[in-house]
Amino acid sequence: MAVDLSMPVLVVDDYQTMIRIIRNLLNQLGFKNIEEAKDGKQALEKLNGGKFGLVISDWNMEPMTGYELLQQVRASDKLKATPFIMVTAESKTENVIAAKKAGVNNYIVKPFNAETLKGKLKAVLGEF
């Protein structure tokens, strides 16, 4: 099944510049419906208030981290099926394994390039 490029994508990062970079890359790849949140808490509120086809989240944010957001999403009956990609500078193996155990669909370590993001989107969502 083809990926619905009009589906809402939630980008979560406490650095506006990083949100802007991911937004531009997603736009280039054809995704047009992109929303943003500055931390896990705000992201959870948005997720509970709407229907999103994908979450792309940073890890290190306050007051709620991306890891905590992932755990909350996977614990929610409404949200648990939402694809979740972590994009973070947290590159220790313990972080990757913890995120995988918590149910992350893929993991991108910063700094990353457009090809890496595209590859992970295809791995999680399918060809587009």
Binding site: A89, Y107, V109
Partner: protein, 209 residues
């Protein structure tokens, strides 16, 4: 005369007097024994005073050394000038970096949004945008100088603290983990690794294969 030797002499003199009875001894002998006791006690208290004086001198020297080291630490200079100065420099680095990033991204987004019909005009716009991007990149020179100043401050503090700790033989006491540190540990908030990612993207991909 050592304290133990003086004590033995005094005890011996006292025992002699007790054993024979002071009234039955000739006055000269009693005086001689008293003189012997007085000599022994003088020697004893003399040695006692010297050892106490020695201890006090050691303590005074240590306190003076500590004062010199604390003075050399230049804590007020670090607190009032160097650390606030470093903080100002780092704030400026963040501000300059954000400003440059904003300029570069705005130029890039502007070019991406264009739908060129006139290629010559489009090339001129691209060239102008590239020049503005080059200009924005000049922030790196300033931030580099600012970061160098901050590094210099940190090295200054490191040298002073190391010298202070070494001179006074300071060792670290066991510290209790703060709530912030506990949260960082529990949520695996390690921050960016030095010299590139701790785990490469290829290794991460292998875990998800």
């Amino acid at each position: 005369m050592a304290a133990a030797e003086a004590a033995i002499k005094i005890r011996s003199a006292m025992e002699q007097l007790k054993a024979t009875g002071v009234r039955e001894r000739p006055l000269v002998e009693v005086l001689s024994l008293s003189h012997q006791m007085a000599d022994a006690m003088t020697a004893f208290f003399g040695s006692l005073d010297k050892s106490i004086i020695g201890e006090f001198k050691y303590l005074a020297d240590f306190i003076q050394k500590a004062r010199d080291e604390i003075s050399g630490l230049q804590a007020n200079d670090i607190k009032d000038t160097r650390l606030p100065g470093a903080s100002v420099e780092l704030d400026a680095v963040v501000r300059d970096t954000e400003k440059a990033t904003e300029s570069i991204m705005a130029e890039a987004e502007g070019l991406m949004a264009k739908e060129p019909t006139d290629l010559a005009a489009y090339k001129a716009e691209v060239d102008a945008a590239m020049m503005r991007i080059f200009e924005a990149c000049s922030f790196q020179d300033l931030t580099g100088q600012r970061v160098t100043k901050v590094i210099s401050t940190l090295r200054h503090i490191e040298e002073r603290v190391t010298k202070f700790a070494s001179a006074l033989g300071v060792t670290d006491a066991a510290s209790q983990e703060s709530a912030e540190d506990a949260r960082k540990r529990e949520l695996l908030l390690n921050g960016p690794a030095q010299n590139g990612p701790a785990t490469s993207q290829d290794d991460i991909d292998a875990l998800f294969a």
